[in-house]
Amino acid sequence: MLDLKTLKFGDELLKRGFAKMTKGGVIMDVTTAEQAKIAENSGAVAVMALERVPADIRKEGGVARMADPLKIKEILDSVSIPVMAKVRIGHLSEAYVLESLGVDMLDESEVLTPADPFYHINKKLYKVPVVCGARTFPEAVRRIFEGAAMIRTKGEAGTGNIVEAMRHIRAVEDGIYILRDLTNDELYKVAENISKTYISLRDLTSGELLGNENKLSYDNVYYDMDYKTINDNIFRVLREIKRMRRLPLVNFAAGGVATPSDAALMMKMGMDGVFVGSGIFKSKNPEKMARAVVEATENYEDYKSIADVSSGLEGMEGLEMENIEKLQDRGN
């Protein structure tokens, strides 16, 4: 028998395993228990609890934090499907608070205002699995190294514009493709390039104190890990990606999915499922939109049925990328 209980990756297996149960499904943003119930009845595979949907955060501005624990408790009590919740990038304490509430997965999300300008949470410290967004391949690798149990595109939340999610899918795909023919030495070089981002803080601080030529060595760069340890671990992630020819965990699309056809496009591009934020509850008839997006995700190549479910749906208004603040640029 393969004894998994005593293996070090047991926790990792449970976290990534949880994410696998959402494959082929739609995870919907909700702000109240009432919305959560609508999402569950319409076929959501999980709900994402947050204070305001991205379109409103964009419109109203201000600091976006994790949702009120009272709201989260109400949502937890109202549905039987998993409940996820957004946490600010690098906000260790919000993450522990959400874990203590019994939330099933956290989303360390650029949609909320970042708490730490340098680093993401060390997700290995938590028992609750965490999903993170990524624009590029190196970004996805860093999040996996930090212990993310699931990856999603960042896209551009609250815009109803799918173009950025497409950009991020293509960027990550290309990274995976490039790894295919690399030797181990070349792969290690890539690992070093990806790790460099972590030393930005150390460069800033020690360079200012000691001068750029006498900078401190890169020990304790990220959560007590030195530069070499980070490189080695990132190298291991890269080898796993190279062997599997895909990210070694569940990979969803997010940020700008506004119509059933958008969801179908994401599935056609090889995504494991979709997050829909403002697209549902900013549309004219949320329940109808939710059902239609679920249908299009399940049967993403049944174009006749997608045409049927899309008929007469009035989706949210869309935004062009120029002249808006790009939430995706938050986090490194």
Binding site: L13, K20, M21, G24, G25, A46, L76, P82, G102, D104
Partner: protein
């Protein structure tokens, strides 16, 4: 001979690769089952883990729900893991998911708590042996009547069998251990061999 994997939602591909890996040894192939047409071409069906509410609703909508019940009565072997076991059960105590009643178990959804209460436990399975079982937001089999008990944990059944129906509350597809899938295939093959002898 085809073993179907219900391809609606959940960890479908993990089951697919297990059956594919065992294919050569037993002469079986995996087939992703999306509709009633596909169901006509399989000798066994695996209903994977995922969200039981989502899988249930789509089964009903695609008219596959009653069809699976009928096919099972006519000999189709079915294995349900986690959410799959909920779908196969007699009583789910939850109006959101109606069990098919293919196995005489009463089952409770998310019985162990939320995701932070998910766990891995080594169990002993009759006919199979020791197994590292991964329980993720698992349901609990509260009662069973005439089914055969294959394994229990904490005095509660986690794996039961009723002739051509297997129901287990954990995730054999998340481990590297194919012995449960192997057991499922062997059951189907032995049954087919028996049918052939009867015909002669």
């Amino acid at each position: 001979m085809n073993i179907g994997i219900l391809n609606i939602q959940g960890d479908v591909s993990e089951h697919y690769y297990f059956i594919k890996k065992l294919g050569k040894k037993y002469g079986v192939s995996p087939l992703l089952v999306k509709n009633n047409n596909d169901l006509n071409n399989v000798s066994g069906l695996i209903i994977p883990g995922g969200e039981s509410t989502v899988i249930y609703n789509i089964l009903v909508k695609n008219n596959m729900y009653d069809n699976i019940i009928n096919l099972n009565k006519n000999g189709l072997y079915v294995m349900g893991t986690c959410a799959g076991a909920i779908i196969l059960s007699e009583d789910t105590s939850d109006i959101r998911v109606k069990g098919m009643g293919l196995i005489d178990i009463k089952i409770k959804r998310n019985a162990y708590g939320r995701q932070i209460n998910s766990f891995i436990e080594n169990i002993y399975i009759k006919h199979i042996g020791d197994f590292s079982a991964v329980f993720i937001r698992a349901p609990e089999i509260e009662e069973y009547k005439n089914s055969e008990l294959l394994s229990e944990y904490n005095n509660k059944p986690v794996f039961v069998r009723n002739k051509n129906v297997l129901a287990l509350t954990f995730h054999p597809e998340l481990t590297g251990d194919p012995s449960i899938h192997e057991y499922f295939i062997k059951n189907i093959l032995e049954n087919e061999a028996g049918n052939n002898r009867a015909k002669q």
